[in-house]
């Protein structure tokens, strides 16, 4: 059934449809409506499981940690400073190999205070061991949250579904909400092997030496590789069931594209309008949307890139002393096999609009650049 939903509500509705058993939450702009709708659904019975209103985000993730180890399917949502405040717990939950699903609504980190969308909050969690999926529409938010449970539970890695603050979180658009039965068929109950159970006492998280620690992390690496497959396979299964297909990458008019706008999040949607406009001008433009960022889709990307292709990477994020994070990781993934050139553009930090006009300009700059030789990241803006 189609409903007009804001992005935050799409996330909350998906969690309820996934029959989460324990939800924990805490308010923060621009995520708060996820939390509020969950509270409301708990009250009216739409959300069946336990609902905990924690006193801080660190405790949110700690409670999730306890609940997930006890065997429950768990969900939460946060943003920006809240995500950063739970950083210690993010590492912990990943190391504990718990298939938690969390929504992060992108928002810039301070100092100074800023409420606008900015991916640095989620991307700066890139080493915590979470799968990360970036959404471009409210429909994709709902679908991705549902798929996230299936992916996470298959590889036992927590999964973060990321959406742009305001641009998606607060925008209303029609979203197709699948029927509960269909979702139940897609997503069976969570039945973990090892849980906290007095009948089968075991200890979780106890001290290990370096030999075990190394092997646990290598196992995690192997499961991350498996997650690359899982994202594609679950996306395909989802498509077969619900008619909307997803994968690690999402290419648009790239077959013969010479220069490709590489985007993530909602910019991926606007970029298609830019590509359409460029194509109308007879230019060989394409858009590659990076849906997954962790595990980094290195293989898929290498398969996608053709020699001589130019990638104009739009980073609505910034790692000080390194540059745009997508551009950096793309370069590392392509090193040294590819003759494609990678051109990094930092734009839209702190909520600046990344407009169709801006994207076209960037595309042209990259396409027309004298040499294929990349410069350090350029900083761009739509001056309006």
């Amino acid at each position: 059934m189609k409903k007009v939903l804001m992005g935050n509500h799409a996330a909350a509705v998906a969690a309820a449809l996934a029959r989460v058993q324990v939800t924990v939450g805490y308010p923060i702009t621009p995520q708060t409506q996820v939390y509020e709708l969950l509270a409301e659904m708990k009250l009216n019975g739409t959300l069946a499981g336990e609902f905990i209103a924690a006193e801080s985000e660190h405790s949110v993730m700690a409670a999730i940690y306890g609940a997930a180890t006890a065997g429950a399917r768990t969900f939460t949502a946060t943003s920006s400073q809240g995500l950063a405040y739970m950083h210690e717990m993010l590492h912990w939950v990943a190391g504990a190999r718990l298939p938690v699903v969390m929504v992060d609504v992108n928002r810039a980190l301070g100092a100074p205070w800023n409420l606008g969308t900015d991916q640095t909050d989620s991307l700066s969690q890139r080493d915590t061991g979470w799968i990360q999926i970036y959404c471009s529409t409210n429909q994709e938010i709902l679908d991705s949250v549902l798929m996230a449970f299936k992916i996470a539970e298959r590889v036992m890695i927590p999964t973060m579904v990321v959406l742009d603050g305001f641009t998606l979180s607060h925008s209303y658009e029609p979203v197709d909400v699948p029927a509960q039965d269909d979702i139940d068929a897609f997503l069976p109950p969570f039945k973990p092997e090892l849980t906290l159970d007095p009948k089968r006492p075991m200890t979780f998280g106890a001290l290990v030496g370096p030999k075990d620690y190394l092997r646990l992390r290598r196992r995690m690496a192997a499961d991350m590789a498996e997650a690359e497959r899982a994202i594609d396979e679950v996306g395909r299964e989802f498509g077969e069931r619900f008619g909307r297909f997803y994968g690690q990458l999402d290419a648009y008019r790239c077959e013969d594209a010479e220069t490709v706008l590489v985007t993530s999040g909602a910019v991926g949607s606007t970029a298609r309008a830019a590509v359409d406009a460029l194509r109308e001008q007879g230019l060989a433009a394409g858009n590659l949307r990076m849906r997954s960022f962790r595990p980094f889709p290195a293989q898929a990307l290498r398969a996608f890139v053709r020699p001589g292709m130019r990638l104009a990477v739009i980073d609505r994020n910034y790692s000080p002393g390194a540059g745009g994070i997508f551009a950096q990781e793309i370069k590392a993934a392509l090193y040294p096999r590819s003759s494609a050139s990678v051109h990094g553009y930092v734009a839209g930090l702190g909520g600046g609009d990344i407009t169709v006009e801006l994207l076209q300009e960037v595309w042209r700059r990259v396409h027309d650049a004298a040499a294929a030789e990349p410069e350090p990241a350029s900083w761009v803006e739509d001056a309006r």
Binding site: V4, L115, D164, T167, Y172, S269, A273
Partner: protein
Amino acid sequence: MLAAKILADAVLRQGVKQCLAIPEFGVERRGAPVTAYARLSEKPILIRTRIYEPDALVVLDPTLYAADILKGLKAGGTVLTNCETDALERLKAKFPGRTFVDVPARRIAIELKLGSPSSPVVNTAMCGAAAAVFQLCDLEPLLLAVRDSVPAKTEANVEAARKAYSFAHERRHAPA
């Protein structure tokens, strides 16, 4: 924002167009002016940015015309207002080439006891007016959308939307 949501919902129910409603980003404080944007199209809507040159404008707060909110409006665009005073005439004079439609949303809201006289809640009335003026949808999907979106004082809000819709509908069909 609720107004934008209601309109998007009504448009969806009408079944012809797509609608994407986007808020102004940032700090929202009760009482402070806020902005929202909506795109309507028969094709899927891809662009997810602010609208810099809108085709149409809806202004909920009649005291806000001092702000330069009208400057981006395309020539030939339509403005839906809530003035009920001769301020409207001054506005028309100031922004030639735009069509102004004025709706007594404030009076409708006060009549129906929506909000308090000091701060009447006009959003559902203005929704109704907008739906009619910009031909977004028929009355029925509009009222269903209002009913689904407004949990408190639902019927009064539905009534406000209906009244304003009718008022504006007539206006639109009346000779200008």
